[in-house]
Symmetry: C2
Subunit: 270 residues, 2 copies
């Protein structure tokens, strides 16, 4: 693994460490989409220990939406299994800090916000399975069109745990039937990054009223020979946290993910 002496412009061929070091040193504050493309990127949610047991249970009860890659001990900002040097206070390019559900800061470093009772949850993200789909030659419309993926709140309730509850949020990718079948096969092997689709075909069956108006992200065109295919999405736990309005919370800023040393190819289930 290369070890830059100065902050780099990370690119797809950079290592996870390159991106983390660039973020840690403050030279890189941008989106991580497409960077260090072999490596697993992840959602981050940091909560006070008083809420951590409930949130951990919420993730365990809803593993497709909230696939846990790692959890820290209270106050510990390291997670060696995801990167020997990893520091969760500095290594994400941009964070969001929340008090009682209100956004209070968007820093590039949360060292000054850190507390001894904070527990960090690292949750798998669809970038990994998109990488696997693209590697198998399955085109992704939102990537082709340079848009964010389309996401929708559904009528599929998550299983609640303590204060955490709410709808399953899904991301949608339009695919031909043959590619949808292959996408089921590929993503079924990746349970740590949302796994198989939850639904395909008629959006109204999962409570989506207008496919052209996503609740998050950007609408994309669905061609006549395509079906919309829906996967559980990492916005689900973010939405549950927003609804719970915890007294204090830190998350990554949208698109500014934690880049771990896990390799996408290592996520494939045996």
């Amino acid at each position: 693994m290369s070890h830059p002496t100065d902050p780099l412009d990370p690119d797809a061929s950079s290592s996870a460490l390159d991106v983390r070091l660039a973020a840690r040193r403050g030279g890189f504050t941008g989106h991580t989409s497409g960077l260090a493309s072999e490596f697993v990127q992840a959602n981050l949610a940091i909560l006070p220990a008083a809420l951590a047991a409930d949130f951990r249970r919420y993730c365990a009860l809803n593993p497709q939406a909230c696939p846990l890659l790692g959890v820290t001990e209270p106050g510990d900002a390291t997670l060696a299994a995801l990167g020997a040097d990893l520091d969760l206070r500095t290594d994400v390019p941009r964070y969001r800090v929340w008090r009682d559900g209100e956004l209070v800061d968007e820093p590039t470093d949360v060292t000054r916000w850190w507390r001894d009772d904070l527990v960090a949850f690292v949750i798998g993200c669809s970038f990994s399975f998109e990488h696997a789909l693209l590697a198998e030659g399955i085109p992704l419309r939102h990537v082709e069109q340079g848009r964010n993926v389309a996401m929708y709140r559904t009528s599929i309730a998550t299983t609640p745990a303590g204060v955490f509850r709410g709808p399953t949020v899904v991301s949608m990718r339009p695919l031909t039937a043959a590619d949808a079948i292959r996408a089921v096969q590929i993503t079924s092997k990746l349970p740590q990054v949302h796994g198989a689709p939850l639904h395909l075909g008629d959006p109204s069956r999962i409570g989506i009223g207008d496919i052209a108006r996503p609740d998050y992200g950007d609408a994309v065109d669905i061609r006549d020979d395509e079906l919309p295919v829906f996967w559980a999405c990492g916005v689900t736990p973010q939405s549950a946290i927003a609804t719970a309005r915890p007294p204090f919370c830190i998350t990554h800023a949208p698109g500014h993910m934690l880049v771990t040393d896990l390799l996408n190819r290592d996520l494939i289930a045996a």
Copy 2:
């Protein structure tokens, strides 16, 4: 394995050997659907050696429609890998004998038709994957309704080999989206019995004009919350043989399958 001294009425709990012995002794001439349900049932096609190389290549080129479980040496009616005692001249409950594409006999024993140049092809059948789907709690409409599965000629051409060519024939099962996704997962692990679906959703995409009018088998209802899901079907090689009109050929009679000693659970791909 039990070993009856008299022809039995085979049932779901009987062994493959029970069914073969009952067929061999002439006491059983019926359909094999639902019998010896743990065991792999198969399609049978017996061709003169002069055509066997082409047909073998046809199967290899179209493995989803024609998954080969075994092939005999010319003139040999045994296939020990599928049953130590197995005799392909006697163990199928009813055969069809063809000359120049015309049906000339429907005997329960083909000993008198046997020739030293005949090569037998044993081809996987959807009974095995239906067994796996039912075991996972996925309901199958045609089973519930006591009908034959609906089958359709499609616009998906098989890859030709010698005189063998023609459309892929598919079987269709209506499933909810969630069950369709699970069915893709389950049948992807069963490549020796047609594997994953070829298509799901809009039938016209694969050249099916009227889903209510199957080319073979019986129509079944498709509910509002279901998608038609299409698998390659063992009628594909039968159709290719019918089109080729070989000078001589023996097949099983529809629904009267060869019951082998392979276990359905042993077909699951590693």
